[in-house]
């Protein structure tokens, strides 16, 4: 039977929402295939094996078994340099058909290198479609196209990052088996420096364009456009040529009819109000 491994990122000792989403996605695949779903728990301190601890929580979210690694070095931010050897050790122990990571800064540091270690295919933030025993990973590929990976047709493992918190699963499981792995050594060539993380504004990593379903008031546009530009975003008119790798976000008063059928993302509502909320959110992030 196949093994499904979900890496659990901990924040204050609790699994992050994106980790539980990955676990939930693994649960759905495991249920369709009859596979065993393992939650990999890299902990700085041993859990207390109580009803509210991390093992009970992954059991409630669909894990059949837990792989537990306890080492003080795992207290820091999850990076491949610190947590990667633990994931590789777990993959050697199982080995898995599918490895799931949260779509987080930690998951994106770990997933590609683990995938390369396994010679695996890699799917970033796919949607899972299950029909009977057929499980397919689906990702937008732009220009009205999708990329589909049929998990049943792969001749190798697949590594997946997941961000869809709706994918979280619930189970009525009580106790689950816990397998304790010896902590491998981390990479000493990378060191986390002490001190608080400095705050710094984020910037768009690719062209992000907002299309508004109705004309903005010129005064509002003059106020909002520079703030968006500082974050690497811009306003454009419907019908403007779309660049490669550009993400288009439609802000339209109503959901139907869709004035921006080619947009990647859309929010229904008053465009000016939505833009003000977006600016406020990105300035606070």
């Amino acid at each position: 039977l196949a093994n499904v491994l979900a890496f659990i990122e901990l924040d204050g000792g609790r699994p992050t929402a994106a980790s539980l989403a990955g676990l939930g996605l693994g649960r759905r695949i495991g249920s369709a295939w009859g596979a065993t779903v393992y939650a990999l728990l890299p902990c700085a301190e041993a859990p207390r094996y109580q009803a509210d601890d991390v093992i009970a929580e992954v059991a409630r979210h669909g894990a059949d078994k837990a792989l537990l690694v306890v080492a003080p070095a795992l207290a820091g931010p999850p990076l491949f340099a610190t947590h990667g050897p633990t994931v590789v050790a777990a993959c050697t122990r199982l080995p898995p058909a599918i490895v799931l990571f949260p779509s987080s800064s930690a998951g994106m540091d770990l997933a590609p290198r683990v995938a390369a270690h396994l010679g695996a295919a890699l799917a970033i933030r796919p949607r899972l479609v299950i029909e009977g025993k057929c499980a397919t990973l689906v990702r937008p590929a732009g220009a009205g196209q999708l990329r589909r990976i049929d998990l049943g047709e792969l001749d190798r493992p697949v590594v997946v990052t997941c961000a869809d918190v709706d994918a979280r699963a619930t189970a009525t499981r009580g106790e689950i088996e816990v397998i304790v792995l010896a902590p491998p050594t981390h990479d000493p060539r990378v060191a986390v420096l002490p001190g608080e993380s400095p705050r710094a504004p984020r910037r768009a990593q690719a062209p992000l364009t907002f299309l508004c379903g109705e004309a903005l008031d010129p005064t509002a546009q003059a106020a909002l456009a520079p703030k968006l530009e500082r974050a690497g975003m811009r306003l454009a008119r419907a019908g403007a040529p779309r660049g490669p790798n550009e993400l288009v976000i439609a802000l339209a008063p109503t959901e139907q009819p869709d004035p921006h059928a080619t947009a990647d993302l859309a929010i229904a509502g008053n465009p000016e109000q939505l833009l003000r909320e977006i600016v406020a959110t990105i300035e606070a992030t």
Binding site: A18, P112, H117, A141, A200, A206, E229, A231
Partner: protein, 235 residues
């Protein structure tokens, strides 16, 4: 010390903000350090004139490119194998890769190449500077802010664009004194690779299909949009 900026080109017509950030970081790490030299490596399935021309305006002691149809429809691992071979060929000590590449695999090829090279990697790097002990002081973007780290070279960093990158669509001015350079073209066999070795990686990104499912993803509010942009590596 050789700093290699490696840029993977897809269908774009100009360099993106992450590519420009990697080039700028490479230049800053060489600035005022005569013992440090920059090199530039462009790779892809097909040559893209616009990005190549723009990249040539940046200071680098070496400009190297490799465009081969053997990379067509391959995944991160095929690019990682070419990048690994190129890093060995060019004897790179520090490899800078843009955090967001031309396809949806984000920065997967860089960490995969670091595995094959047996060197550490850090993703989502926003700043890097040499420390007196020869290590690099790095700030990395995490979900809650920036994290300070130190890393020994050789190493590979994937570089994010920062708030200092300037307005959208406005490439930074070329470095003073920089002139358009020509690129030394490499072929696969010069790197000790054969097209057959990359063929098994074809199709692993998934099958492309037209679909009504490729519709717009609807989000409930601004907060959900920002979460989506962060999780997808867009922001």
């Amino acid at each position: 010390v050789k700093v290699l900026v490696a840029i993977r080109l897809g269908g774009e017509t100009s360099l993106g903000v992450c590519e420009r950030a990697a080039l700028a970081l490479g230049a800053s790490l060489c600035d005022g350090r005569p013992e440090t030299a920059a090199a530039l490596f462009l790779l892809g399935a097909a040559e893209r004139t616009g990005p190549v021309t723009e990249a040539a305006l940046h200071h680098a002691a070496e400009h190297v490119s490799m465009f081969t149809p053997a990379l067509d429809d391959t995944d991160y691992e095929a690019y990682a194998r070419v990048l690994t071979a190129a890093c060995r060929h060019l004897r790179a000590d520090l490899i800078l890769v843009p955090a967001r590449t031309a396809d949806e695999d984000l920065d997967a090829a860089g960490p995969a190449a670091a595995l094959h090279l047996g060197i550490p990697h850090l993703t989502a790097v926003e700043t890097a500077a040499w420390r007196p002990d020869g290590k690099l002081a790095v700030t990395r973007r995490e979900d809650r802010g920036l994290r300070a780290l130190a890393v020994e070279t050789p190493a590979l960093l994937t570089v994010r664009a920062t708030a200092q990158a300037g307005p959208v669509g406005a490439p930074p001015a070329p470095a003073p004194g920089a002139e358009a350079a020509s690129f030394l073209r490499l072929e696969l066999d010069a790197l000790g690779l054969r097209a057959e070795e990359l063929r098994p990686r074809r199709g692993l990104r998934g099958t492309l299909a037209e679909s009504a499912d490729a519709r717009t993803e609807r989000l409930p509010d601004a907060a959900a949009l920002v979460r989506c942009l962060c999780a997808g590596g867009w922001w």
